[in-house]
Symmetry: C2
């Protein structure tokens, strides 16, 4: 762990030497705000406004229907997939940006289950293993799939990371895990769990919602089977922007799912009355995509091309280390408990602390311009985006937290609201 930096001046000095500092200029952040919620909704790249205007005014308004070809609308899911691929250790022709994370997970799970059902030694396997603490929609989608498949399919919820290896047993068809937990910021060992799943005869699907653009990911290096994730958190693609799905070359010929829409057809414009799947990653596509939202994803991805995931990780760990150190030193004596792992290898790019009045404290922070968010039970989440968060931001956020706690300046009776 790094040495604590215990003055604001030291933080400013760190910012002055930060090779990523200039990337903050690529984002439009409101004045007076320290934004520590990029793990929920990434900030807006400046380029996104001009891009939105261009897509709406010129591509749609002026060029109209022609833009499907001339502006490359039809190819956007693949073009964006190619730009996203290097951030997650995916190869060319292995990623598309399309639909929602929930839907992409359904496709991946359905394909994985089908592959297993056709395997000589895996046909009897009927269980999807995941964590009870996984992001709920992942569990819901697995439930939806297994209920409809009937024939004894079910979802097994595991209560702790320690119990996970044993739960991946001879009944397990597919393991479905979120790489970095949305609440705790715990990061799984992707390579080790993938190896273990394979050794047990299972396939593994990774949800990278809190990983893509946040931590280095090497899907092909880990020999993972499938992955999905969202673009509106650390990838800064815009509110609810379409999600992505990764299917490695080695699984593409077998990749089949029930959401077989015309964008996944071998010849979509032949308008044939029977479905014939295209080759390659296009198989993960279904229907027509929301072009304006999709186009803005590119503005988020462009920023990453000015740096590397290694540089981002280095700063992410420095920011989260600093935040933990400062909270524990400056706010000592207050009932804050660190939920996020101290071990670097097990930490994502967020830090969560519990506080008995976590919700109220978070509301007070937001009122003072420090935007994090709250998750039951008692968890205050702080996301750190190295592209636009400075060391001085971390210092200032902790000073405001300290002031709120020291003066008990929060309303414990405040009603609980909700943000995604």
């Amino acid at each position: 762990m790094s040495q604590p930096i215990l003055t604001r001046v030291a933080c400013l000095a760190r910012d002055a030497q930060d090779p990523l500092a200039s990337l903050r200029e690529r984002f439009d952040l409101p004045a007076g705000v320290i934004y520590l919620d990029g793990n929920s909704l990434g900030a807006r790249p400046r380029a996104a406004l001009a891009r939105a205007q261009d897509v709406v005014a010129r591509e749609w308004g002026q060029d109209l229907i022609k833009s499907w070809n001339t502006a490359g609308w039809f190819d956007l899911p693949k073009r964006l997939g190619e730009r996203l691929a290097p951030l997650i250790g995916a190869g060319a022709g292995e990623v598309v940006v399309t639909d929602s994370t929930s839907l992409n997970l359904f496709k991946a799970l359905a394909a994985a289950v089908r592959i297993q059902a056709q395997g000589e030694h895996t046909a009897a396997r009927r269980v999807i293993v995941t964590e009870r603490s996984n992001f709920p929609t992942d569990i819901y989608m697995a439930e939806g799939l297994t209920k409809w498949l009937e024939r004894g399919y079910s979802v097994r919820l595991v209560d702790s990371v320690d119990e996970l290896p044993a739960a991946i047993d001879a009944d397990c068809a597919v393991v479905m895990l979120t790489h970095v937990n949305y609440r705790s910021g715990y990061q799984h060992d992707m390579a080790a769990l993938t190896r273990h799943a394979h050794a047990q005869g299972a396939l593994i699907v990774w949800d990278l919602a809190h990983s893509a653009g946040a931590v280095p990911v090497d899907l092909n290096g880990a020999e993972a089977d499938f992955a999905v994730g969202c673009t509106y958190k650390y990838l800064n693609g815009g509110p609810g922007a379409p999600a992505f799905i990764w299917v490695p070359q080695r699984h593409q010929a077998q990749f089949q799912h029930p959401l077989s829409g015309w964008w996944g057809h071998a010849q979509p414009f032949a308008m044939a009355p029977g479905f014939a799947s295209c080759d390659g990653i296009g198989r993960a596509l279904c229907g027509t995509q929301p072009v304006v939202s999709l186009a803005l994803v590119e503005c988020g991805l462009e920023v990453f091309e000015a740096t590397t995931m290694d540089a981002i990780r280095l700063k992410s760990l420095a920011l989260t280390d600093l935040f933990i150190d400062l909270v524990e030193s400056r706010c000592a004596g207050h009932p804050l408990v660190l939920v996020t792992p101290r071990e670097h290898a097990r930490r994502g790019s967020q830090v969560s602390f519990t506080h008995p009045h976590g919700y109220a404290v978070m509301q007070a922070l937001i009122a003072r311009g420090v935007i994090g968010d709250y998750r039951e039970p008692e968890i205050m989440r702080f996301g750190f985006t190295p592209l636009y968060t400075s060391y001085a931001d971390v210092w200032d956020a902790v000073e405001i937290l300290k002031d709120i706690l020291d003066r008990a300046d929060y309303d414990v009776a405040a009603e609980r609201g909700a943000v995604t």
Copy 2:
């Protein structure tokens, strides 16, 4: 049928008396273009540019995560559904705007099949009946569902409208029809076919892709079961804008589908590890929606509030009658064959003609600023959007077509491209 108007002056006089004429000002159409492709991609409402700027710059850029609540992002699918409902004869709380038409169709078909499977007298029914000439993705989605259900489910493709009633037999679980055919512009009798399907013990799912905003639709009046449709054609919601799904109150308690994501959960922010469906139309929701594209749908819907579907239909029929009359009189002698029904009740808001060199002629029209589109085999499609198409536009378009045909000014060797 109306009397032919055989001079441009008469068309201009008609425009001068057109109660919808002023609505053209609500759209930004490029100069020098006669846009007859609103059945593929609707033109841009002027308001959409300012709305896009506001969503991107203020709601996303400035208000960030708070906008899920303060800008009503989370409620957008329902809010837009309420505004769309009157255009299709739907009631309050019966429509959401979400996902793609393909995906919504999958939900509706899955729910319909499940309701039938649980019915005392319908449990043995295993066939989804549709037309071979239906828009292909509808057939593909039905195929995808039936293949995954196994247990003998299949899709029955019917070759002609005349054969449809008999094909809806004692094996038929669900009828899936597109109300207005994308190629011919043929409009089914929704009320009669719905009655027939019900009399045979089947449920019926209507695809309104070429109906919503184009022709009056009365889903509740017809006692239809489910409907889906898109917002980027006659509703002018923007390229690939999210689609809609209608579930009438009477089916909502039974509405279940496998795409059970967190937006359809009774308490999405309780983050419970088990799926519990919400009540009402929210059941049709799955994952997080593309907010920027979704928000622009509202700009298209607003325009409809300045008029009525009856007024739109009156002008639509006048425009399509005029187009047919003029093509058949001014272009007489050329091998053009009308594909669209002359009978008003059977006609949508488009007119299709075949020509042996249909593709080449359409390319020549586009080069001269008359934008329609082409569909195999030999079909030139012309969509008429009463909100922004004038009688003089129709006259001018036909004169350009006549000139191209008279001078054979098209390149029969032109390579065939594709637009959606």
